[in-house]
């Protein structure tokens, strides 16, 4: 009798082990609540707390430096914070019940300026130029090496820039040798020709300009006039072949061509990865595939990272009485972190519920955190 029981128990254990062993390794576990802290989450927070006219410039000894664009007659400003300061700033979210409200409050400029965005006192430490916007689009630029007044209407006459134009200007990239400016001229009627890039050496002796749309930038890249400034931009692949320009453009240094990112694909914030079909109007659930920019550019069918998303399982975890997702979008895609927004249709009318899905790809095992942070637009 005892022997029979031992045999049954052993068979049961074997079946259990086999079942566990057969479990799909890529299946995602859904957990309600805010994710645990990690460098990937911190990176996401860095971008979340960056405003529309702010630009992340550089990182130096755990300190992150940003520029704040000038609208009209203002100066370009710089602010900084350390990793530890950023962590302290968002740490209350880990304990808060109403994370949506707290995150909204933390995003307010008054709170950011008071507690996180500390102005850079010594701009020369980071080779940052001082840029002051004066009336009639006169730009006073001062670097460690030189000082100059740039008459923008005259410099950018060929693009139709006039002294009365409504503009926004910011620094796009900077290093010890040169820097690049990014100008949006809202008075230019055709929006496709409204964005202009100015590239300057720190001695202010060499200046290049280009319109920043695909066609015009391609012409500038092909002409070779921007080569001197390539050092400014991050190399985003191990081969150092690809450069990320102005957040969206990838330049292949070998062919001098811009890499075309398909409309339905989503380029990561650092330009290193592509989320295949991640930019579709409605993200399909199932296996999600991520490629390195190198593999993507070379047309390889090789995927660096994969994870699963199951809309029904998420709804079940949240206890929603739903009729499928009406919104399924990627809002943030970093090297190791993905944020999605999902809105579910009600059974007969209206909506059943909304959630953000936060997936930390740096952690072992695929866990997705479900929390409503009210994030429904792209985090730049």
């Amino acid at each position: 009798m005892l022997k029979k029981q031992i045999i049954i128990l052993s068979l049961f254990l074997i079946i259990m082990l086999l079942t566990a062993g057969c479990k799909d390794q890529s299946s995602t576990v859904y957990e309600k609540g805010f994710p645990k802290d990690s460098p990937a989450l911190m990176e996401f927070m860095k971008y979340y707390f960056t405003d529309y006219n702010d630009k992340y410039l550089l990182r130096n000894d755990h300190t992150n430096v940003f520029s704040r664009g000038a609208n009209g007659q203002q100066d370009i400003q710089f602010y900084q914070y350390t990793d530890a300061q950023l962590k302290d700033y968002y740490q209350p979210l880990m304990k808060e019940k109403n994370q949506k409200k707290l995150l909204h409050d933390l995003k307010q400029s008054e709170s950011l300026e008071k507690s996180l965005h500390h102005s850079v006192k010594n701009i020369e430490k980071y080779d940052l130029p001082s840029i002051k916007m004066k009336p009639d689009l006169q730009l006073n630029i001062k670097t460690k090496e030189n000082e100059k007044k740039l008459d923008l209407p005259s410099l950018l006459r060929e693009y139709g820039v006039k002294k009365t134009d409504e503009t926004e200007i910011n620094i796009e990239a900077v290093n010890q040798k040169s820097f690049a400016l990014f100008i949006q001229d809202y008075s230019i009627e055709d929006p496709v020709n409204r964005t202009i890039g100015i590239f300057l050496t720190n001695d202010l002796q060499h200046i290049e300009t280009t319109i920043l749309n695909k066609d015009k930038l391609q012409q500038s890249v092909s002409s070779g006039k921007l080569k001197r400034f390539y050092d400014l931009f991050p190399k985003i692949a191990s081969s150092e072949r690809y450069l990320l320009l102005f957040d969206h453009m990838i330049v292949d240094q070998k062919t001098n061509q811009l890499i075309d990112i398909k409309k339905e694909d989503y380029l990561s914030i650092d330009g290193k990865y592509v989320y295949v079909n991640g930019a579709k109007d409605k993200l399909a659930d199932g296996t999600q595939r991520i490629q390195t920019i190198e593999d993507y550019a070379e047309g390889k069918e090789k995927y660096d990272k994969q994870f699963d998303i199951d809309y029904q399982a998420i709804a079940k975890e949240l206890g929603l009485k739903e009729n499928g997702p009406s919104i399924a979008k990627v809002n943030y895609f970093g090297e190791d972190f993905v944020v999605l927004s999902l809105n579910y249709r009600g059974k007969l009318v209206g909506s059943a519920g909304f959630t953000n899905v936060m997936i930390d790809l740096s952690k072992k095992g695929n866990t997705a955190n479900l929390v409503d942070l009210g994030i429904q637009s792209k985090i730049k």
Binding site: G72, K100, S109, I327, G346, L348, V349, S351, S377, K380
Partner: protein
């Protein structure tokens, strides 16, 4: 009475009747007076002689009930005393036994009477509260109108004064602004601003730009930062407001009142700003209500999936609320609003309420339009001039033949979006008030996956938003 009233009880009742008369003299409420008089027919001691000569009612039902509780305690103490005395007697006489029985019986009846009186006080209090809710809405509306007039006469500016073209998007029942936000992101043009007014009171700001050949919707952290943007400074683009109702299933009148208050604060209720309303489902009724209340400010209304007639499914949800709750709906969700029309009400824990469900179950939109036509023909004329598009979503279904003689093939158009009939959505009952009645094929597969829930995200409807915004521009 089958018992004799003892002096101890008489003494207590003497103080109660005197207290009751003084309370009623202070309250000056006929309803309370009637309630006390009815109770005193059972009490049978003294008389309720207060008269209603004053002009101001003043009562606190909680205080009244605690007074009655004290009376109950007096009587119970008297009974307890009688019981203690009776139990202390070794051999009680017949008179003593009789006296004890009289007190017990009398107190039992009196306590029941007082408990009943407390119930009546609750009922009257609830009636007063309901009446207050009924009259609060027109009072609030009047105050908002005065505030709008004050702002206009004194040129009081709000944060968005100067925007000439404003679109307001209002969702339907059981919904949020999320669906409209996605559609508006697609429909918005370069230079526009999107403002989300959320249910929790927070606001979100976005600007629309073209960057690297691509339309960008950029979030701006707050209003302070928005003011620096070229889009805000120029004010040449459209301001899109995604409005989320404070209560998801609130009545259209509540939405209209809240919206007017908020737009006035923003500086948008003036003769220079023209508002184009967009509504899905019950949001269309909410939009029409706002247009009826503020016809000088509204330029157009565009709706889809809106039941302008009464709606069968809403009637079901309003009548069998537990069944609606089973599938995640909340037919009891309401605001403080109570409609004058008693049919447009339901009750929750004794409290009367009116909401989107009671409204769609009881009132076709023609009712208010007819009232408006006779009470204020000028406003009706303004509505006639307004551009009103009542779009209808419908679905296509496979044609199935039940005939043994031939096989049907192909698809046919069904006469509803599975939730609202095309006729009701097209506002046929509103006659010539509706200028355009487009019909849009939507996704969905039947009653369990109705076309109604696909309307806001439908490409053709988004195109209609774009078209309307393009046409309605000054």
């Amino acid at each position: 009475m089958l018992y004799y009233r003892e002096q101890e009880v008489k003494n207590i009742l003497k103080s109660h009747v005197s207290k009751a008369n003084s309370i009623l003299a202070l309250a000056q409420s006929n309803r309370f007076l009637e309630a006390f008089k009815t109770s005193w027919e059972t009490v049978q001691y003294g008389s309720i002689s207060s008269s209603l000569t004053g002009s101001v009612m003043a009562f606190d039902s909680t205080e009244l009930k605690s007074e009655v509780d004290m009376w109950i305690r007096d009587l119970k103490a008297c009974k307890q005393q009688a019981e203690n005395k009776f139990r202390s007697l070794e051999k009680p006489t017949y008179e003593e036994e009789r006296k004890y029985a009289n007190i017990v019986s009398d107190v039992t009846v009196l306590v029941d009477t007082y408990q009943d009186l407390k119930g009546k006080i609750d009922e009257i209090d609830q009636d007063f509260k309901n009446a207050v809710r009924v009259y609060r809405a027109p009072m609030r509306e009047a105050l908002t109108d005065i505030s709008i007039l004050y702002h206009s006469v004194n040129h009081v500016k709000g944060n968005f004064t100067g925007f000439k073209n404003v679109s307001v998007y209002v969702h339907g029942i059981e919904d949020t602004g999320n669906g409209f936000f996605e559609s508006v992101k697609e429909a918005a043009k370069d230079g526009d601003i999107i403002l989300r007014v959320n249910r929790d009171g927070s606001k979100e700001y976005y600007r629309v730009t073209i960057l690297n050949d691509e339309k960008m919707i950029e979030q701006v952290s707050d209003f302070k930062k928005l003011q620096d943007t070229a889009q805000y400074k120029n004010k040449t683009g459209r301001l899109h407001i995604i409005y989320e109702t404070e209560q998801k299933n609130e009545h259209r009148q509540e939405t209209s009142d809240d919206l007017a208050e908020k737009l006035n604060e923003m500086g948008l209720m003036n003769e220079n700003t023209k508002i184009d309303m967009f509504g899905h489902s019950y949001g269309g009724r909410r939009s029409l209500q706002f247009a009826m209340d503020y016809p000088d400010h509204v330029r157009s209304i565009t709706s889809i999936g809106t039941p302008y007639d009464t709606n069968y499914l809403s009637t079901m949800a309003n009548n069998v609320r537990w069944a609606a709750e089973k599938i995640g709906q909340d037919p009891k969700d309401t605001s403080d609003y109570l409609d004058f029309n008693e049919k447009n009400r339901n009750t929750k824990d004794g409290m009367e309420y009116s909401n989107a469900y009671t409204d769609m179950a009881s009132e076709p939109m023609t009712e208010d339009i007819h009232h408006l036509k006779s009470a204020n023909p000028e406003v009706y004329q303004k509505l006639l001039k307004m551009d009103i598009t009542a779009a209808a979503g419908y679905r296509m279904e496979d044609t199935v033949s039940f005939s043994p003689y031939y096989t049907a093939s192909g698809k046919h158009k069904i006469s509803s979006d599975d939730t609202v009939s095309v006729e009701s959505q097209n506002g046929e009952i509103l006659g010539n008030l509706i200028d355009k009645k487009p019909q849009i094929e939507v996704e969905g597969s039947g009653v369990t996956n109705p076309g109604h829930i696909y309307e806001v995200e439908d490409e053709e409807f988004i195109h209609l938003i774009e078209e309307t915004n393009e046409k309605q521009r000054q």
